[in-house]
Amino acid sequence: MDSFRTLIPYLRLHRGQYVIGLIAVVIANSVNLLPYYFIRLTIDGLTGQVDGDPATTGIALGTAGLYALGIVAAALVAGGFMLLMRRMIVVASRQTEYEIRRDLFAHLQGLDKPYYDRARTGDLMNRLTGDLSAVREMLGFGAWQIVNIVSGFITAFSVMFSLSWQLTLIVLALVPVIVGVLTYLARQINVRHRLAQEQNSLIAAKAQENFSGARVVKGYAIENREIDDYRAMNLELLRRNIALTRVDGPLRSFMSLLLGLAFGLILLVGGRLILAPDSTFTVGMFVQFVGTLERLTFPMLMVGWITGVTQRGLASWLRLKEIFDSQALVRDEPGRTDPTLRTVRGDVTFENVTVRYGDKTVLNDVNLHIPAGTFLGITGPTGSGKTVLGQLLTRSMDPTGGRVLVDGHDVRVIPLRTLRDAVSVVPQEPFLFSDTIANNIGLGLDNRDLPPVLTGVSVVGAPPPDDIPQQPDPARVREAARLAGLTEDVDGFPQGFGTMLGERGVTLSGGQRQRTAIARALVREPRILLLDDSLSAVDTETERRILDGLREVSRGRTVILIAHRVSTLRHADQIVVLEDGRVTEQGSHDALLAQNGHYAQLERLQRLASDLDADETPSDEQAPRDLAAPLDPEAAADRLPAAPTPEQVNR
């Protein structure tokens, strides 16, 4: 129940709808009992007419007609209120679902890299889909069903009691048994349904694995074993589904059996009441009694379900709450953050910076000064901490010890917005969106003046959202693409810059993706440009062109370039060699060559390599191959990480 309290703010947003809806349920439930009342009056009138006894009152055809109209009128009123209820409560639950989803999304946007390093996308997706549905079901279906059950029972029992207390007692004795049995069945169905679903997912996973591993399956000729496995799993599914059918299939007929038995008893006892001398219990009342009892079928059936819906809903809400409760470590903090810092020149200093993951030291007391407008090259073996250095600068994480200063301010003081507007990063494996190439390049443009999506407010009465203008300046995009050496590739695509990337469009090669990411960074004209091994999949000729372009635009900007190739690094004002989290060499290209250390060795070896490059132009930078359907399997590794298909997500 405690978990329910935290949901109340969302319920409060739709208080009016819930109140009106619930009242509508009560009215509909009461009015629903009228038709059998009219039937009773008609039957009693008719029996009075034909029994030939002048003492009993008869009925005129006109009156019977009125009763018939009354039945229709009652049905219309009840139906109208049910319609009202659905449009209030069910719609409110959908709106709440929207609001929670909207707010979760906003919250997720505020969480930092450490959170996303821990969280698994699949798990988050499950919460945002399955758990959210469960909460919505509790708020919509659950809410009106609870009121429906309560008011249904109360109204029906008052009517039945007024007709015959004896029969009502029988029903009262039977109802708990019926509800108990149905609740038990509902629980069984739940359990078995889950078992069947689990097996279903296993089978789907098996198929998925088999299809994506077709190369292994065929390579080792294990098709028959796979088929046997798959058949065995399906047999198990059949078993579980039949087990489910055993309890689930006959639910409705079981209900009809239980009610039938109740009816038999009522016929037995009620009949005797009618036959009793001086009886006030009439055939009409008997019919009304039976009809009213029938109205309880659905509520009785629902008692068992509603507990499940509520339990699931509350448990799911707790899981959503967990997301809401997680806080970013890296964030602006009032008191610490200085909102007056709006611009950045680009002077960067690492001051005794140490980073530890657990007991593993990634950066060890690094000191480094990069004056504004200079070009720093960083190199070093894999795992030496180069990437982490970059992540500290963008405040993707904070150091364990020491400080990172930009323009003399600790980055923790600079508003994140200011910092990230000033720094553009090109990662080694860039993430591109399923959007047009132009929009991918313009990712960081024109975002500043957009209005925020309000959270914690009701969607009721909110105007439909405007289309967001997504038209990054084509001239700027084209210029950035040119600098990144991407123009030719893009011109080769069917829709040029309007070509979609990803599943519904083209897949780019590794080099093309890197160059798109470079264009995406350049177009922002950042004060600090950080390239993290982002030319690794680009051939040397293209690399040279890109570097020329970079020099062209990087005048006055701070450039930090992480790379393995000396040809990439040589023009840097300052080159740093990182090894095991420490700066081991530092100086200009010539100075480092003179030192005859790691860098000098690297240079020697790569000079040898360039002789070879002169002869062999690698062919992996040819765009057309990416467009051809059957790919060289080797190229498959170059593709965009495929976004899961909707069906995968839904599962």
């Binding site: 009219f38 008609t42 008719l46 029996t47 007419q49 007609g65 018939a68 039945i71 049905a75 139906g79 049910m82 319609l83 659905r86 449009r87 069910v90 909207r102 999304f105 997720l108 946007q109 198929a207 998925q208 190369r215 292994v216 399956v217 390579g219 080792y220 399906n234 047999l235 589904n241 007929s253 038999g264 008893l265 037995l268 009949g271 009618i274 036959l275 055939v283 008997f286 795992g383 553009s424 990712l443 960081g444 975002n447 967001i468 060795q601 790569q606 390599a609 002789d611 070879l612 690698p618 062919s619 992996d620 359907a629 059957p630 790919l631 060289d632 298909t645 909707p646 069906e647 997500v649």
Partner: protein, 622 residues
Amino acid sequence: MTRPDASDAFQKGFDTQLTRRILHYVRPYLPLVIGGVLLALLISLAAPVFALIQRHAIDAYLSPLALRTEPDLDLLRRGLTGAALLYMGLKVVEFALQYAFTLAIGYLGQNVLRDIRADVFGKLQRLPLSYFDQNPVGRLITRVTSDVDAINQFITGGLVSLIQSSFIIVVYVVIMLSVNWQLALISFTVLPVLFLATNYFRARLRDAFRETRTQQATVNSKLNENITGMLTVQLFGRERRSALDFNLSNRALLSANENSVKWFSLFMPVVAVLGQVAVALILYFAARQILGVDASGAVAGAITVGTLFAFVQLSQQLFQPIQDLADVFNNLQAAMASSERIFGVLDTEESITDKPDARSLTNFEGRVDFRNVWFAYDQTVTADTPDTDERWILRGIDLHIRPGESVALVGATGAGKTSVTALVSRFYDVQRGSVNVDGTDVRDLAQHDLRRHVGVVLQDVFLFAGTIESNLTLNNPDIPHERVIEACRYVGVHEYILSLEHGYQTEVRERGATLSTGQKQLLAFARALIQNPDILLVLDEATANVDTETELRIQQALKRVMQGRTSIIIAHRLSTIEHCDRIVVMRRGHIVEQGSHHQLLEKGGYYARLHRLQYAQADAAD
């Protein structure tokens, strides 16, 4: 890719040929079908009896008509008891019938589902690798999941309810007409309206639900993309734009949902009101007939109160089958589209098949010969395609490998190295020339046989759900545990496996995401060793993220695995290449150089330069 699937599902009409093929799957369960139909018939015969018992009880024992002339109360009570007991007894019988029916249909549907799935899955196992290159995994999954489910729905929800509903409707119509034809006709007037209304609303709801599903899919994929790319979004200050964009989709989903609620909230009350209109009609016309007859009431066949009550019940019970019937067509339509797709898979031509007289291999030596092989992945390329065509991947490869010889393939990406290995396993068929194993064209060998003798070690070991051990044996129960351990010792991964929580029985999670690259590679070698192939194909990717120690271990393992086997290795590691008997340098589908390490170094060609470069880089990495 799911989009076209979803939309054409609703445009397909009824197709007798497809239906016949679906029914073919039902045939093995004919007794079940016949039993089910009989049960359905019995159930529909039993259903109206309850209302008739009630009618009898009211008219014979409870109505004042019965009480009018010197009633024998005892007799009436006994009759009443009899009726009540009969009623309850029949309810039990009805329940038993219904239960048996449900189980029979469930059993039928599940079995058909299983059979179709097995067929589709089996077919997919026989289809060549090129089929998997062309069809995204998601689409294939849909075939064995939702498409098969739709056919199951067609049988259990479509055909069965068609039969059952028709039975019930016929029986009810006959009984109601025979009890009182005037009243029957009057209560029937509502049914066409009900049918049309149900049909109308179901169509609207179907459209609305389809729209919700589409919108939900959009929301989900945007969520997924934003979560995966959240750090990029943050670094580029795109939070607000992303939020606005997501809000658009989120709102669209809300609107779609509200639209569904709109139709649904109308649909239910309309059905309820129609039900009460039927009751009102019956009530009024029954009253008119009753009041119309003369007051003594002794007219034979006149409506009684019991009849009135029975008609109220019967007319309500007719509603469900009418609604079911209106629904049948929706199920049929969805099933048509799905079955067409499924049969599309089943009818796919298996381009790589065993010849009827395919030879099986008994004594395997391991000789491999490529004779003037021309090959392209593009299947529109034929033997007649000109040599200059861009699509050729291999252009006249002649390569002869002796049993036990180890050959390293060297060359840039796209040179055709992978294709060479894929052709030895006959994953694809060549357009010109032939690939021979032990002197026999691979196209004349049984695929299974061939592949059992050819082991492939992929760059990235593909791990299945299961334990480490089941991944090594590939679920072959005949492989003894000792052999697994022996192999793992041999490649040097035994200690590592033992260090895991459950040793060899440790469950592989998330396709081995927790394993390092080096460990995966060693597992791949162990797997290949355990399968003990005569020809070994190794796709060996020099990986950056392997520490020196693991690197050494991998090299050692590879050397050992190669021993005494014909090996074709796509090698990036110099040490591996050096240890091979022969090095074949490929460029753009041609072999440009071949010979031993020393021969090629002396020759001073492409390989010699490559060698200098790689040595340089290898040193630099340390």
